[in-house]
């Protein structure tokens, strides 16, 4: 696209036009304390050049503090922060080669859209003609070509958000930080802007660090996701890895839906046995002690009273509580003999005969479940 080419030639950086111009960001045991409260606790994370990394977690998990440390608004208590190998933890925000999009956009209300976008260019003493070209190119990139003369308050939330993106990319920073940029928008607009952000990321090749508490957003956008909890990173990986192979119970519960079966595990040869509701369940992996078997809803298969379960699969008796029809699939909520609930998702065309009130058998393949150490802080209640 011509627009993106215009942006890539920003004179601020002489890395113009070079492919993969995003910077590498490396956090090493980064820690931020406020008095006794540890907001970020020894976080180590390497973000590859040009990568789209999402920091995902509930509020208060340390993801925004980590982002603000990268931006320079928070000075780390200890640990190091490097950009392409250069330590930047003590550099002031205006000396770091970053762009930032704020949750509520933070567009300057006393400036027009064009003046807002030109602001970082003026700070870099870029000539007026060149400035005008770059502003036009940035507006083109976010598809707001006609709006330069308007004031921010004359734009809708989604338009303001795109202006904020244009302002943050116009000077070609090598890293773009985004702090829940879509949080204030309605669902439909959010879905569309997610695709826009993905497109802009592909066009620019800049390293994106994106903070959100919305797991769906993280799944749609990211190359990799770092899941934060209590100031620590629980797991870093692709959306697929986090969903299929969660390493902690928190990740399993936070990302997507799952059924969690808790019990005491006994390790055997490559397998473990877990007692649950008077049955013995088998899980892959060796683990002894308090543990939990985690199964994604689409991996569970409901077997009716007259049918036979697949040989070798785990099986638990269950009662169907309710059915939620979703068009492309349906969800079943089941009660296990010990009172726990299980969640099953059946794709349309492969629906079982089970109805609310039916006594059924809940089955799954051993390899389709993940065995994890139990974490008493994680609730088992279905969300």
């Amino acid at each position: 696209m011509p627009a993106s080419r215009g942006l890539a030639q920003t004179p601020d950086t002489e890395r113009a036009g070079r492919a993969g111009r995003g910077a590498e960001i490396a956090l090493d045991r980064l820690t931020k304390r406020y008095g006794d409260f540890v907001a970020v606790d020894e976080v180590s994370l390497t973000i590859e050049p040009g990568e789209f990394m999402t920091l995902l977690g509930p509020s208060g998990s340390g993801k925004t503090t980590t982002l603000n440390a990268i931006a320079g608004f928070v000075t780390p208590t200890s640990g190091s922060l490097r950009m392409d190998g250069t330590a930047i933890e003590s550099a002031p925000p205006h000396k770091r080669d970053i762009g930032m999009v704020f949750q509520h956009y933070a567009l300057f209300p006393h400036m027009t859209v064009a003046e807002n976008i030109a602001y970082p260019l003026r700070r870099r003493k870029i000539a007026k003609d060149r400035r005008r070209e770059l502003v036009a190119a940035a507006l083109e990139t976010v598809r707001l070509g006609e709006y330069g003369h308007r004031y921010p308050r004359e734009l809708s939330g989604g338009q303001q958000q795109r202006v904020a993106v244009a302002r943050a990319i116009v000077y070609g920073p090598r890293v773009l930080l985004m702090d829940e940029p879509l949080g204030a928008l309605d669902k439909k607009l959010r879905d569309w802007l997610q695709l826009e952000i993905k497109r802009i990321h592909a066009e620019l090749g800049t390293t994106f660090v994106y903070v959100t508490h919305d797991q769906d957003e993280a799944l749609v956008l990211s190359d990799r996701i770092a899941v934060f909890n209590n100031g620590r990173i629980e797991q870093v990986g692709s959306a697929h890895a986090l969903y299929e192979r969660p390493e902690t119970l928190f990740v399993a519960k936070f990302l997507g839906e799952s059924t969690v079966l808790r019990g005491a595990a006994e390790a055997g040869a490559g397998r473990s046995a877990l007692g649950k509701a008077g049955r013995t369940l088998t899980a892959a992996g060796e683990l002894t002690g308090a543990a939990a078997i985690v199964i994604r809803p689409e991996r569970l298969v409901v077997v009716g009273a007259g049918e036979r379960a697949e040989p070798g699969w785990n099986a638990l008796p269950a009662t169907v509580l309710q059915e939620i029809y979703l068009g492309s699939s349906r969800k079943l909520e089941l009660r296990l003999p010990d009172g726990d609930t299980a969640l099953v998702r059946e794709a349309a065309g492969r629906l079982s005969a089970a109805r609310p009130g039916d006594e059924v058998t809940l089955t799954w393949r051993v390899e389709d479940a993940v065995l994890l150490p139990d974490d008493p802080d994680v609730e088992t209640v279905l969300t």
Partner: protein
């Protein structure tokens, strides 16, 4: 005081506080008017009537015509007083602004407890009688007062402050500072800190971010506070009378002399009319300027 009360409204750029709440007024249109009545009577009896009397006397005593105004504008001493009044008010406003701006900013960044303490520090003198505070300044500023004793100890020698224009300005700045701090704080507390953070992330040094982003956004507060202080300072009587020298009298003192000393009600009235007219003209000017600026700055 009635002029003063209008000041914050006139200086605020919001054009439409009247827009909401218009609908319910249509049905019981008489009721709000009844609520206004006591205040209206008060203003008519204690403000409009004396004002009209003053106007009447300015044009009729000792004889009908422009005589009193001709006298005012052709007497050099009167022009000097008028100029001195305006320059004093200007100095007071500028100094109060320079002192209040960082103070109000500190109030916005302080924690809840710090903010309460800072607010109290502004309000306590505000609740103390003006007379008491002026006398306190006399004690502090006099040649053998606390300030000069302290300066003496450091070897900076006595500085004559009492009965000088500088002394008057010092006293007035302190007395009027709440009128500057409070509007500034009201506007500053509405400025999102992320504007400055955004400017910093976009490459602005701290001072550049302040000058280009924070200062323009705080302009409505500067305008409101400055107007309050300036207009109040123009009509100050007690403080300049007690702290100042008769040679450096301000217009309110001259009015007092004309009316109380020389029984020249007409001349005193004319001086009052001149002060009122100039103040109104200033209010209109500021309202026009801030309205234009308000179209650009809205919070």
């Amino acid at each position: 005081m009635a002029v003063l009360d209008e000041a914050p409204g006139a200086a605020r750029p919001t054009a439409g506080p009247a827009a909401p709440g218009r609908a319910p007024r249509e049905r019981g249109a008489a009721r709000p008017a009844v609520l206004l009545l006591p205040a209206l009577v008060l203003v008519l009896v204690f403000f409009a009537y004396p004002l009209a009397t003053m106007l009447w006397r300015a044009f009729t005593e000792p004889e009908t015509g422009w005589g009193n105004f001709t006298w005012f504008f052709t007497t050099q001493a009167n022009i000097d007083v008028l100029v001195r009044t305006f320059t004093t008010a200007l100095w007071v406003t500028v100094i109060a602004l320079l002192l209040s701006y960082p103070y109000a900013y500190l109030m916005t960044v302080a924690g809840p407890r710090g903010r309460a303490a800072l607010t109290l520090l502004v309000l306590v003198p505000f609740w103390t009688s003006l007379m008491v505070r002026t006398f306190a300044w006399m004690v502090i500023l006099q040649d053998t007062g606390v300030l000069n004793r302290t300066l003496d100890l450091v070897g900076l020698g006595p500085v004559h402050l009492i009965r000088t224009q500088a002394g008057v300005i010092v006293g007035m700045v302190q007395l009027l500072m709440p009128f500057m701090v409070l509007p500034l704080y009201a506007v500053m507390s509405g400025i999102d800190r992320r504007y400055v953070q955004a400017a910093r992330s976009l490459g602005a040094r701290p001072l550049t971010a302040f000058a280009g982003i924070y200062l323009p956004l705080s302009l409505p507060g500067i305008a409101a506070g400055s107007l309050m202080v300036f207009v109040s300072a123009l009509g100050f009587y007690i403080t300049p009378a007690l702290l100042g020298s008769p040679d450096d009298a301000l217009i309110s003192q001259q009015i007092f002399t004309q009316v109380n000393g020389l029984l020249q009600w007409g001349r005193g009235g004319a001086m009052g009319v001149v002060l009122l007219g100039m103040t109104l003209a200033l209010l209109v000017l500021v309202a026009l300027v801030t309205r234009r600026a308000g179209r650009k700055v809205s919070l």
